[in-house]
Amino acid sequence: MPAAPLIEIRVQAGDFDVSAEIDALTKGRADIGGVASFIGLCRDEGGALSALELEHYPGMAERAIRAIAEEAVARFALSAILAVHRYGKIAPGGNIVLVAAAAGHRHAAFEGAEFLMDYLKTEAPFWKKEHMADGTSGDWVSAKDADDSARDRWKGRS
């Protein structure tokens, strides 16, 4: 009998280690054929940014991501799924988010990871504020229609 799907969701200020996180997903199992993952990084927007500051809603953030992860596990028959989302001030080049999905075959793993990212960006309570390289206070990042479209392409698909 296959092991129950592992769902690991964390919201934290500190950085994460990609190898360690993925090892923990597959450890002790030999029924996983592939792990697809995604790391979201802070861009400097052509040198304009000194940092992004991530605000989140404690309690709800983890809960919202977990709900999305559970739907991904069911929808793509995943063996395991992981999301680690950071908050606080993150410098350009720094890690913001890691998601990973493990499955018997690669296509389910890729779909699981991309589904989780698409929903996480539009449904999990995080907000990004820009800090500018010239010392001024930047704007809050606006939500993108493209992100809603990315989420909505999963609707109505089996």
Partner: protein
Amino acid sequence: MKLIYFAWVRERIGKADEEIDLPEGVATIRELIDFLKTRGEEYEAAFEFPEVIRAAIDHEHVEHSEKIGAAREIALFPPMTGG
């Protein structure tokens, strides 16, 4: 009841959270936002475009038409930009 604000909603109102007593006739999120807008210009600024405001009751996303009921904590915030 506890209200909690995030991102530029928090900045415009000038506080992260507050306790309020709901007046008679405020039954939904939409009515709550309309009520808050009467409380001063900082609230007017935060809720200038109410249609973009997202809401959660006790950590669950809800529509503006949702009944507040016995909510413990209501959060109001801009569209999310994580990931």
